[in-house]
């Protein structure tokens, strides 16, 4: 291990020393919500700061009260001022970035959760299907376990996605596949909320699922999901959170959350850039092998989850990483036969 690290260190220094290596500063544009959101922006910023510290580059996180409209001006200003790498965490910046990147061929660009063509743009996606598979494994194990409060004997789970689109169904299909790997006959109820911002609807739909036998509901619905979590807490059942660690929103009633490690992505991008290996023109997927997705530490629920279930999750994770388990990715493979 130490020897390996040493080798890696030597390799890194060999790459880093030549004048080729990038030394122009790095800018990261913070998305709506700003720093201090305890979520997407803060997670990304942690990786950004780690990457800056590690590479010794100059790095600046840029905030704006009007980040959607000012995006293009900020990006151009950064490139005009000789920033070498500009990352934007704001989803709405994808389109302007694609349009302006050709004007700045010497600048590297990075955007998240979408694919933007361009020789100097790195598009970062996350392997949400893989993380959702693990959530499915855990939920399927839990749902028939006797003696846990809020869990009934029926093998029924629920998923509340926001809209029927490949980007969202990627989570759903991964979850179903994981659940079926535990119990092929399990029933997974799926109900689209048709909205990312309607907690009341999320609450109603989750309650309907709980009443019809489901005891664990996974939400893939942004703000709507807050209602799902509220319903789980009020009814004594369980929700599974998404994107960031939502376990603390209703401690004990969020079984786990399927988190996206955007910090891993920002740190890797900065290190690659510093080593002059920036993946321009590529789409990077941060899945389980890259530690880009995963389940939380289950701070509030680990006491009720039998150890063997956590081992099953670890085994599934190892299987996915080794390639023994292939998780269906709707966003790149289309819809599977078992879910249309």
């Amino acid at each position: 291990m130490t020897f390996k690290k040493l080798l890696a260190g030597v390799a890194l220094s060999l790459v880093a020393v030549p004048a080729l290596a990038a030394d122009a500063p790095v800018a990261m544009i913070v998305a709506q919500g700003g720093l201090g959101d305890g979520s997407w922006n803060d997670t990304a910023n942690a990786g950004f700061e780690a990457g800056i510290a590690e590479t010794g580059l100059e790095g600046r996180a840029i905030e704006s009260n009007d980040v959607v409209a000012q995006g293009e001006e900020i990006m151009r200003r950064a490139a005009d001022s000789n920033f070498g790498l500009v990352l934007s965490l704001e989803y709405a910046h994808g389109e302007p970035m694609e349009a302006l990147a050709p004007d700045y061929p010497d600048t590297s660009w990075a955007i998240f959760n979408q694919v933007r063509p361009g020789a100097n743009i790195a598009s970062v996606l996350f392997g949400e299907h893989q993380g959702s598979y693990l959530a499915g494994v855990l939920a399927a194990k839990m749902t028939t376990t006797e003696g846990i409060e809020g869990i009934n004997p029926e093998a029924i789970l629920g998923v509340i996605p926001a809209v029927k689109s490949p980007g969202i169904d990627k989570f759903v299909v991964g979850f179903i596949q994981g659940a079926r790997s535990v119990n092929p006959d399990i029933e997974v109820k799926v109900g689209y909320s048709e909205s990312f911002g309607d907690p009341t609807k999320g609450e109603q739909m989750a309650n309907a699922m709980f009443e019809s036998g489901a005891d664990i509901v996974y939400h893939v619905a942004g703000g709507t999901g807050l209602g799902v979590i509220a319903a789980a807490e009020a009814s004594g059942h369980y929700a599974i959170g998404v994107d960031t660690n939502q376990d603390g929103l209703a401690p004990g009633h969020v079984l786990t959350s399927m988190i996206k490690r955007v910090d891993v992505a920002t740190e890797e991008l900065i290190k690659a850039y510093a080593a002059d290996k920036f993946p321009g023109g590529q789409t990077l997927t941060f899945g389980l092998p890259e530690n880009g997705v995963g389940l939380t530490e289950m701070e509030f629920t680990k006491d009720i989850i039998p150890a063997e279930y956590l081992e099953a999750v670890e085994a599934a994770k190892a299987g996915i990483i080794s390639g023994d388990i292939e998780v269906w990715d709707v966003s790149s493979q289309g819809y599977p036969d078992f879910y249309k």
Binding site: G34, R60, E63, N65, V67, E72, S81, V163, S195, G197
Partner: protein
């Protein structure tokens, strides 16, 4: 003093105080106020490109300031311009991607018109309620803002959501519906010219037309206006509808010229910043032009100085917050005067 303020210098005192306070804050955190302010000046106005960026940030504020001033000078306390901006913006954007692209050059003006109609209809409601039923317009328009956020939020997360992405954006408008840029690649677009034209029209309307003068009378003294035969009800509704037209146009121009689609976070509180601009300018056209550009520069430069210094966005928030306090004081002053009259 009042005369000075009406000439558009109502910003001088608040701005000086805001700058003094932020200078102290800068000193306290070990930054040089002089360097920081000169950097802000350079980033705000230092080159044609930076000026364009400032004007681009000022554009939505020009619309919302004029929309607010139309009502305020008639004594109508419409705080619902932000709602009209959102509704007009969404309507124009939806028209911009769902109407046939074959309409060609006619598409953009058509979408602008649709945005203004929706904005007008939006504010007609509180105008009618005030004129006919004396429903307090501060309450009704403030509430309508929340409703506008909820409606547009629902629509952009549901029926009008772009199926291309899982996030909260509509599809982009057709290229033909886009407003052209004035000095590419800067984002300053022809909506800015429209805003300036509206500002000029507002100046003309307030000083040279019977309806505009009647509006001012109603604002000054409703009883007197009634006595000399001005229809107070009609004036109130007209002010609200015109305010909605301008606010809706602002949203439409922002959608078609700046973002090309509607997204969550479409209005960064433009209605409220515009209201502060109108208040501090005492509704004077020149004052509003200066105020909108100042706030635009603050937003634009306050962001890009972070590329070159360790000054956080909080500095902008401090400056803007202090200037806003003066706007609120002004609002309080007017409302006390108004209560005394009633």
């Amino acid at each position: 003093m009042s005369n000075w303020m009406d000439r558009g210098l109502g910003f001088a005192v608040p701005l000086l105080i805001a700058l003094s306070v932020s200078a102290l804050v800068l000193l306290a955190i070990g930054e040089s106020p002089l360097d920081t302010f000169s950097l802000m000046l350079t980033e705000g106005f230092g080159s044609p490109r930076r000026l364009a960026s400032t004007l681009s940030a000022a554009t939505p504020l020009l619309f919302t300031a004029v929309a607010t001033a139309i009502c305020f000078r008639a004594g109508v306390f419409n705080v619902g311009v932000d709602g009209a901006f959102l509704i007009g913006g969404l309507a124009a954007v939806v028209a911009g991607f769902s109407l046939p692209a074959e309409l060609g050059w006619a598409l953009a003006p058509l979408c602008l018109a649709i945005g203004s109609v929706f904005g007008a209809a939006w504010l007609f409601v509180p105008g009618w309620l005030l004129a006919r039923l004396e429903v307090d317009e501060v309450v009704s328009t403030l509430m309508l803002n929340f409703i506008a956020v909820a409606i547009t939020g629902y629509l952009v997360n549901g029926p009008f959501l772009s199926r291309q992405s899982g996030n909260n954006v509509t599809p982009p408008v057709h290229e033909a519906a886009e407003l052209s840029r004035l000095m590419p690649p800067a984002t300053l677009h022809s909506g800015f010219l429209l805003a300036i034209a509206l500002l000029a029209a507002y100046a003309f309307w307030t000083r040279r037309t019977p309806a505009g003068l009647e509006g001012a009378w109603v604002g000054l003294n409703r009883r007197f206006s009634r006595m000399v035969g001005v229809s107070v009800q009609r004036t109130i509704i007209l002010a609200m509808v015109l305010s909605g037209v301008v606010g809706g146009l602002g949203g439409a121009a922002h959608g078609l010229g700046q973002l090309y689609r509607f997204t969550d976070g479409f209005s960064a509180g433009y209605g409220f910043t515009g209201m502060a601009v109108a208040l501090l300018a005492h509704n004077s056209p020149l004052g509003m032009l200066i105020g909108a550009i100042l706030f635009g520069a603050l937003a634009s430069a306050g962001t890009t100085i972070q590329l070159f210094s360790d000054i956080p966005l909080d500095l902008v928030n401090i400056i803007q917050g202090i200037v806003m306090i003066f706007a609120v004081i002004e609002l309080g002053r007017i409302s006390i005067r108004r209560r005394a009259k009633a």
